[in-house]
């Protein structure tokens, strides 16, 4: 059961999207706060990875293992990729990249929870 943790991850992704959205609206280029937020998100995803591995070893693994692990590993690449691509843009569109990527991440974490439980499409 990882339900509460995926909820926390979804909230975290949306908070990062909101924060970078504010920077975008203020016309700021990407700064330390955006990078810090992405780092927190990455650490939270790594914690999800550790919890999932431990639960799987304990015999309570995901209902759809192939999809679950590919989603989780893909998700781990998103914060660093968004940070790198956003940093290359020295305008307000840097934070906009983070908004787009973290919004997609929140949807992917919803699917992550679903394929763990084995519900949904």
């Amino acid at each position: 059961m990882i339900g509460w943790y995926t909820t926390a991850l979804i909230t975290a992704s949306l908070l990062v999207a909101g924060w970078s959205g504010i920077q975008w609206a203020r016309g700021r280029a990407m700064g330390w706060s955006d990078l810090g937020a992405l780092t927190v998100l990455e650490v939270a995803l790594l914690a999800q990875l550790v919890v999932s591995v431990v639960l799987t070893i304990a015999g309570e693994g995901p209902a759809e293992p192939a999809t679950f692990w590919s989603y989780l590993v893909t998700l781990l690449f998103f914060p660093p990729a968004a940070g790198w691509w956003g940093l290359m843009e020295r305008s307000k569109w840097g934070p906009a990249v983070i908004v787009a990527v973290t919004l997609v991440m929140s949807v992917m974490v919803v699917r992550l929870g679903q394929v763990w439980e084995g519900v949904g499409g």
Partner: protein
């Protein structure tokens, strides 16, 4: 593209100062980020569908694979942003728009043809409607950044 000349031309074009905003900066950077995500999403989904259960919905899964290829070529051509790749991008995004409209319509009228969802079924509502909006935004951005375009 085998000789790499479009890429070299793109590099040369980038080195010259241009009045039009470059294709892959500003909003273009967000566009490319979303295209990369859709290439991964469509690619991995169609790989799973085709290797796992192709015989269950050959038409839907073939279209899934076609969509994945189009997203890949569109992404690469947007990143290269040269004169030739710009034309390739326009063709790709046009095909993408036509595809999402055609598959969207067919999937609503004859749902039996699409027993399993694809990226483009129901106009991409399974992906928050992004598949139908993305090519429109992309084509507008290509138009806005075309060489010789006046900056607003």
């Amino acid at each position: 593209m085998a000789d790499g000349s479009p890429a070299r031309r793109a590099a040369a074009a980038d080195a010259r100062p241009s009045a039009a905003p470059a294709l892959r900066t500003g909003p273009g950077r967000v566009l490319i980020a979303v295209y990369v995500i859709f290439t991964i999403a469509a690619g991995s989904r169609s790989t799973v569908q085709i290797t796992d259960r192709f015989e269950q919905a050959p038409l839907a899964f073939s279209l899934s694979a076609a969509a994945a290829v189009i997203y890949l070529v569109a992404t690469v051509s947007l990143v290269l942003a040269g004169r030739t790749s710009r034309r390739v991008a326009v063709v790709c995004l046009g095909t993408e728009l036509a595809g999402v409209l055609a598959v969207g319509t067919v999937s609503l009228l004859w749902p039996g043809l699409f027993p399993e969802p694809t990226v483009w079924s129901h106009f991409g509502t399974g992906y928050l409607g992004i598949p139908v909006v993305l090519p429109v935004l992309g084509l507008l951005w290509l138009r806005r950044t075309r060489p010789g375009a006046r900056e607003d």
